[in-house]
């Protein structure tokens, strides 16, 4: 069906009325040939028809408008279950159509609102749960952050204390390193002195050997002298023997002279002289013997002294050998100690370096611990702020709940389906 607007209806009605009037006028005029009558009659008929048409049209229009008003009233009271009847194709129909669409839209909107409310409700429950968990987690985070802050504070203090101790230890180790360096220098000096001592001992040994050889050479004439003096002693013994024999001879001669009486007196004088000579020889030989004995004794003492000197030199040589060996051992030990102390110095240097790195790391750790403390404090503050914000969110949610309740109440005011 095509669209007919009220304006067109009215124009058509006017045209019909005009046609009717003209028709009546024509008919009356034709029949009566009374124009005025025709005019009056047609006017009456036209008025009557017009009135009738007006009543019918207005009733129809008012009725439909009333229907729309009633529908709007019901809708305003929340009843969206009424369906708007679409009767004509005029502008009222457009209004009905629009109204119907508006009702449908409202119904859909309310449904959407209901769905949205349901979703909000579900979300609110979830959000409540989530909020509760967030609050709980915040509490846990706050507690953990507090523990972390305390731990970080203790860790920072401990790290600082440890860093101080490491610093003190580092000072000690630096002192040790310095001491090691000084010890290395002293050991190097001792090494040089030991080497010098060994060289001197070797030179002394050579001098000792030379002295020993010289002493052996010096002892040879003394030994020869001893042999010569021994020969002299033998000669002296022979002289003593001769003197003894001479003495005995003179004694016997004197006895013979005595027995010879007066005849033997001259011989007795000779015998006496021989006895005196023998006595002198004996005395002289005794003196020589004493001197020789003294020389031999002195020589023996010199030889003993030389032997002792040689023994002493041999002992000295052995001692110097032992000294050289001891110097060699000492040098080897000093070398060993030097290397070990050098290693200790290197190790101590490395330890100092490592301790410095360690100290730096500990200082970093202390700084990190302090930063952790600050961050933990910030976290605590942030958690507390978050808790405050959560309270705001809770308040907002409470407001949202109230709004939801109001929306629910508003939505419940709408009736979406019949029955």
């Amino acid at each position: 069906m095509g669209r007919t607007s009220l304006k067109n209806k009215l124009l058509l009605a006017l045209l019909g009325l005009l046609l009717t009037v003209m028709t009546v006028v024509g008919i009356v005029n034709y029949l009566t040939h009374n124009f005025f009558l025709a005019q009056a009659l047609s006017t009456v008929i036209a008025l009557g028809v017009g009135l009738l048409f007006g009543i019918i049209f207005s009733n129809s229009l008012v009725k439909r408008l009333n229907m729309l008003i009633n529908s709007a009233r019901e809708i305003s009271s929340g009843d969206l279950s009424r369906e708007i009847a679409l009767i004509s194709n005029d502008e009222i129909r457009d209004l009905e159509d629009i109204f119907s669409k508006m009702v449908q839209e409202l119904r859909r909107m309310i449904l959407d609102m209901k769905n949205l409310f349901d979703q909000i409700l579900t979300t609110k429950i979830q959000l409540n749960d989530f909020m509760r968990r967030i609050v709980q987690n915040n509490y846990e985070i706050d507690r953990s952050a507090l523990s972390i802050a305390r731990g970080s504070e203790s860790q920072s203090a401990l790290a600082q204390k440890t860093a101080d101790q490491i610093d003190e230890g580092l000072l000690v180790m630096e002192e040790m390193a310095g001491q090691s360096a000084r010890t290395v220098t002293r050991i190097a000096d001792a090494k040089v002195k030991s080497e010098t001592g060994e060289t001197i001992a070797r030179e002394t040994l050579i001098q000792f050997k030379i002295s020993l050889q010289q002493m052996t050479e010096y002892a040879k004439p003394i030994h020869r002298l001893a042999a010569e003096v021994d020969k002299i002693r033998m000669v002296v013994r022979i002289i003593e023997e001769i003197a003894q024999k001479t003495d005995l001879l003179s004694l016997n001669a004197s006895i013979e002279a005595t027995r010879a009486g007066e005849m033997g007196k001259g011989f007795a004088l000779v015998a006496e002289e021989i006895r005196t000579m023998a006595e002198n020889s004996k005395i002289s030989s005794k003196e020589i013997g004493k001197i020789v004995q003294g020389i031999l004794q002195d020589n023996a003492e010199v030889i003993i002294s030389l032997q002792k000197n040689q023994e002493g030199l041999s002992s000295g040589e052995q001692i110097i050998h032992r000294i050289i060996t001891a110097f060699g051992d000492t040098l080897a030990n000093v070398n060993h100690i030097y290397l070990e102390v050098k290693d200790i110095q290197d190790v101590t240097g490395k330890q100092v370096k490592e301790m410095r790195n360690f100290l730096g790391q500990f200082q970093d750790l202390s700084r990190l611990a302090f930063e952790n403390l600050q961050e933990a404090q910030k976290t605590i503050q942030a958690t507390r702020n978050q808790n405050a914000d959560m309270k705001g969110i809770v308040a907002t949610m409470k407001a949202l709940n109230e709004l939801s309740e109001k929306m629910k109440q508003t939505q419940q005011r709408f009736k979406l389906t019949a029955g």
């Binding site: 005995l248 016997n252 004197s254 006895i255």
Partner: protein
């Protein structure tokens, strides 16, 4: 008078030089059995045998000091021959106015006991025999 002086155990003794035949040393002495203790043995000198007497044992019951140079006084008187071994033979000493078997003083004022060969011999004869074993 001249005497041959000798010492035994630090004491001086004197023999008249007339009775002394020789003073010798370094000779072999051969032991004989059954002789008194002071009898050292026999020595052979220039074809004659001498009884050797230890003067120390004879006079003081003490052995004289003997070595290779010990001197032995050989005495000959009448037909007797005797050899005595003193500690030391001092030598010939002149003494004035001696008294046989009596003490005398030397020029140096030393006391000398004078002995005679006969007194020695008699003294030996009074001794008992010794062991038969030759030492």
């Amino acid at each position: 008078m001249e005497i041959v002086a000798f010492s035994v155990d630090g004491r001086l003794y004197g023999l008249e030089a007339q009775h002394v035949n020789r003073v010798i040393e370094n000779v072999n002495i051969f032991s004989t059995p059954f002789m008194p203790e002071c009898h050292m043995g026999l020595l052979f000198y220039r074809g004659e045998l001498y009884d050797v007497i230890d003067a120390g044992i004879l006079f003081n019951q003490k052995t004289s000091v003997m070595d290779s140079h010990s001197r032995i006084i050989l005495m000959k008187w009448n037909r007797n021959k005797l050899a005595i071994i003193p500690d030391v033979v001092v030598g010939l000493v002149w003494i004035d106015d001696p008294a046989i078997d009596q003490g005398a003083l030397t020029a140096h004022g030393q006391m000398i006991d004078m002995i005679t060969p006969d007194s020695l011999w008699n003294r030996l004869l009074k001794l008992s025999y010794g062991p038969g074993k030759i030492s």
